[in-house]
């Protein structure tokens, strides 16, 4: 049995509880109102603001936030129609001013705060903005947003709860999956070697080391090297692809990338490769031999990995 087959995909989602809100009062009020209108049943808080929760919960060294509050919306078709308040009405009530840019994307501005809605783009050409019918808000379609909806974490804050992406899901969108992975063209010689999707674990000593992150990228192996030869020459997971600017934050908190575990990889595999059968993504997801190659890098003992990390 290949290691990648072990993952059932039915693991319990993470739940984080806060007695006091880690956010500023205006942001807390906004999230509370959004939860009341049922947004988080099909939406997530994304961008830099979940970082506040991660930094509190996982005791990271620090976590920055921008004044840009982003919300991801799952497939617009699934959202049931409710006769309640729409998002523009809610924003108006909370004192946010709607601003439309030339492409039709709606942004809500109050002071230096900016609220944006993002939805998943299914590939190919797409309109620059998509109106989410029940909430009557236009969202910006971006690729791979649906990855953020893989086992999202529930955060209970005071008297309401929100959903945020699990940390491992946050690390993948920036890695732009189609560029990585095994890309087979018609001519078998012209293949690009696997470059990303690896795993991550916490260092011993950092708090809550279990169940944190499992996804990460590895260094691109030179195309002329075969997988076997590269492994012999000591190619291992070296670089990290975290969401945007958070790499330093995670690194400083003792969370390091090692090639261990492939649970998220497998989740993606199931989601894209088996379930949806997207031909344009089919070849980009690591196939079992590649995953087994990744797993073989587990041979490095943990102590050695720690030493390697401390040297850096």
């Amino acid at each position: 049995m290949q290691p990648w087959m072990r993952f059932s995909g039915k693991e319990r989602a993470m739940k984080i509880v806060f007695e006091h809100s880690p956010f500023f009062q205006p942001v807390t009020n906004l999230l509370r109102e959004m939860e009341r209108m049922g947004f988080f049943s099909h939406g997530l808080l994304i961008g830099s603001w979940p970082m506040v929760i991660y930094s509190e919960h996982f005791t990271l060294a620090y976590g920055f936030t921008t004044n840009d509050i982003d919300f991801a919306i799952d497939s617009a078709v699934k959202i049931p129609a409710t006769g309640g308040e729409t998002i523009p009405e809610l924003m108006d009530r909370l004192g946010y001013t709607p601003v439309h840019d030339y492409s039709g994307i709606e942004t809500f501005i109050q002071g230096t705060f900016e609220i944006e809605f993002i939805t998943h783009r299914r590939g190919g050409k797409a309109p620059p903005s998509v109106v989410i019918p029940p909430w009557k808000v236009s969202a910006q379609p971006l690729p791979f947003i649906d990855l953020l909806f893989i086992r999202p974490a529930t955060v209970v804050i005071e008297d309401f709860s929100i959903r945020i992406p699990s940390p491992e899901a946050l690390m993948l969108p920036n890695s732009s999956l189609p560029k990585g992975g095994q890309v087979w063209t018609r001519k078998p010689r012209k293949r690009r070697t696997f470059s990303r999707v690896m795993s991550l674990r916490t260092f011993p000593g950092s708090k809550r080391s279990s169940g944190f992150c499992r996804s990460i990228a590895c260094r691109r192996r030179p195309a002329k090297l075969s997988a076997h030869r590269a492994r012999k020459e000591g190619y291992r997971c070296r670089s990290w692809i975290f969401e945007g600017n958070f790499r330093g934050v995670f690194e400083k908190s003792g969370i390091a990338a090692v090639s261990r575990g492939q649970r998220l990889t497998d989740t993606i595999r199931r989601r894209y490769f088996l379930k949806r059968r997207r031909p344009w993504l089919q070849n980009t997801i690591p196939t079992p031999p590649i995953i087994s190659w990744l797993c073989s890098t587990n041979d490095i003992p943990v102590e050695k990995q720690n030493n390697e990390m401390s040297k850096r």
Binding site: T66, D68, V99, H100, I109, T112
Partner: protein, 116 residues
């Protein structure tokens, strides 16, 4: 020699926030151009020994201050738009201030980097 560890993530974060602020400023400026300028007022006009009061829109043009007569319905409609414009101008001011702060921080950071 002990050297402070350079943390790129801080500067990357500040830079991305700065770029975001620039985008917000552009967005707000674009929205402000679409909205009517000026403020609502009333203008008294004397005709035939009687005094009429009209709502009007006062705004400054290249040629000076202009008064545009409005119907009461138009004035009512313009009121909310002008309020929105005022609010957006306040937001623009706040964002520009933040942008200036970020610029100063980044300049300082770069200077510090060069000195090392």
């Amino acid at each position: 020699m002990r050297v402070k560890e350079k943390d790129d993530s801080v500067y990357r974060m500040l830079e991305s926030e700065r770029n975001r602020c620039v985008r917000v400023v552009e967005k707000i400026c674009g929205e402000l151009e679409k909205l009517p300028k000026g403020s609502l007022g009333q203008r008294k006009v004397k005709r035939g020994g009687r005094e009429y009061v009209y709502p009007c829109l006062r705004y400054r043009d290249d040629s000076g201050v202009k008064f545009e007569h409005l119907s009461p319905e138009q004035a009512e409609g313009l009121k909310s738009v002008l309020e929105k414009r005022k609010k957006l101008r306040d937001d623009l001011k706040a964002t520009r201030k933040r942008l200036a702060t970020l610029d100063a921080l980044l300049r300082k950071g770069k200077g510090h980097e060069n000195s090392i």
